[in-house]
Symmetry: C2
Subunit: 284 residues, 2 copies
Amino acid sequence: MKIAVIGLGLIGGSLAKDLKERGFATYITGNDVDEKNAQDALELGIVDTISTMELAVKGAELVLVTVPVSAITALLPQILNNIDSQTVVVDFGSTKEQICQAVKTHPKRQQYVAAHPIAGTEKSGPAAAVNNLFDNKTTIICEKELSAAKALQVAEVLFKTLNMNLMYMEAREHDVHLAYVSHLPHVISFAMVNTVLEAEKDSQFLFRLAGSGFASLTRLAKSSPDMWAPIFTQNASHVSEAIDLYIAELELFKRLVNKKDATMLHRMLERSNEVKNVTDASRS
Amino acid sequence: MKIAVIGLGLIGGSLAKDLKERGFATYITGNDVDEKNAQDALELGIVDTISTMELAVKGAELVLVTVPVSAITALLPQILNNIDSQTVVVDFGSTKEQICQAVKTHPKRQQYVAAHPIAGTEKSGPAAAVNNLFDNKTTIICEKELSAAKALQVAEVLFKTLNMNLMYMEAREHDVHLAYVSHLPHVISFAMVNTVLEAEKDSQFLFRLAGSGFASLTRLAKSSPDMWAPIFTQNASHVSEAIDLYIAELELFKRLVNKKDATMLHRMLERSNEVKNVTDASRS
């Protein structure tokens, strides 16, 4: 299958690697507004050629859109304008409501499948691309009733090739859930780093004191601002609500700390321990 | 050297393994209020024998206290009451101010070294004990002027054997720093899990949606309530202040999200990215 990958960062690059190696992609045309990213992807053998967005999508059977969500909203109508009548377009954005809204009334809406493959690392750029990034993870497909049966089928084969599990839901429902399980964790990590960098101005000191707990909490704070600032603004209302609930939980925690109420704190920590059932099971 | 390990959990167990294998400990007597822990440690070969606290410390040249900080505060005076005149006692507690306070006027205060080796995992119990847990990490020694030169020397050889780097500071200074780099990250993780478990009541759903970001933020929330509830209450004022600063950072974040101010959000995330300089360097 001839594929165009629009956006050659960690996601686009990792995707291209797997699709080529697994025989799903016969020829990959890449595009990136960042010329260095494009050149790197070509030199790394991630794509077969580099082209303008218009030419890349014109000849492709499948177009994969792996740019920040603000760029998806802006580009998606243009991509649909430029594709052939049989081409299928799938985006990989971490928000879905505004992206779906941007093409809701587009005459080629049926050729588009709104997707969110939940995978990534804190790294960015084509040099950070890795094989098997998507294996055994989940893709959420939204508004499937607005995609043609054939387009949906192509997308489903794509995600099976990536060894992903599929879930279907409404765009709004997606954005609410992701606010809690992904966007809030990122806010938490970004805000924690800023708090600690402010409190521990002597970074030499921080170096030596920070244990593995600090490292695991701050990993997400290394994530790309280009990717994440638009996610927070596109999913603003749900993210804001999640932050509010989280602050309320912290306030409760603080009250128990101030009262030195070890019994109630113990109970709260026991409740938190229940997360073992979630992440240990999902990793096995 | 004949060693007594009071508290046979993850820390006491890991410690005993390394000290035995590295030839520092010739004979280890263990003690744990939890009889199952004590029996497990004996069966796993972590200790040579099990004894009462009084008998364990009586015959030992070095006593290592690896119980929750509330138990350290309670036990330490009793341990000092029971030791011989040449025995050295070192604690491994994550707080230092209240622990130091508990033995400040004890006639054998000089035989005690107040330490905090910054190492651990979210697991607990002797079965979770691992080798090399302490290698290349940092130990903070507090109030060193209150320990006899000989006691300090024994402690320093102990931590060199564990391949640890040493820092010295006042107990209060220790507790302030640790509030930010360790206790706050734990509060953050515990509170996040409780928020998300509340919002996502269908845990089957959470299973499938939670990506690696969620997993890395929630690892600390699996930590032992027995260990952490007392840390939060012993370091209450500094932890409370750290939570306040953190909430202020979250509120700022939320305001920018509500205003959809992508430019300022981008700037905040760039600032967070500076943590790469801290954790990447400290890991290498």
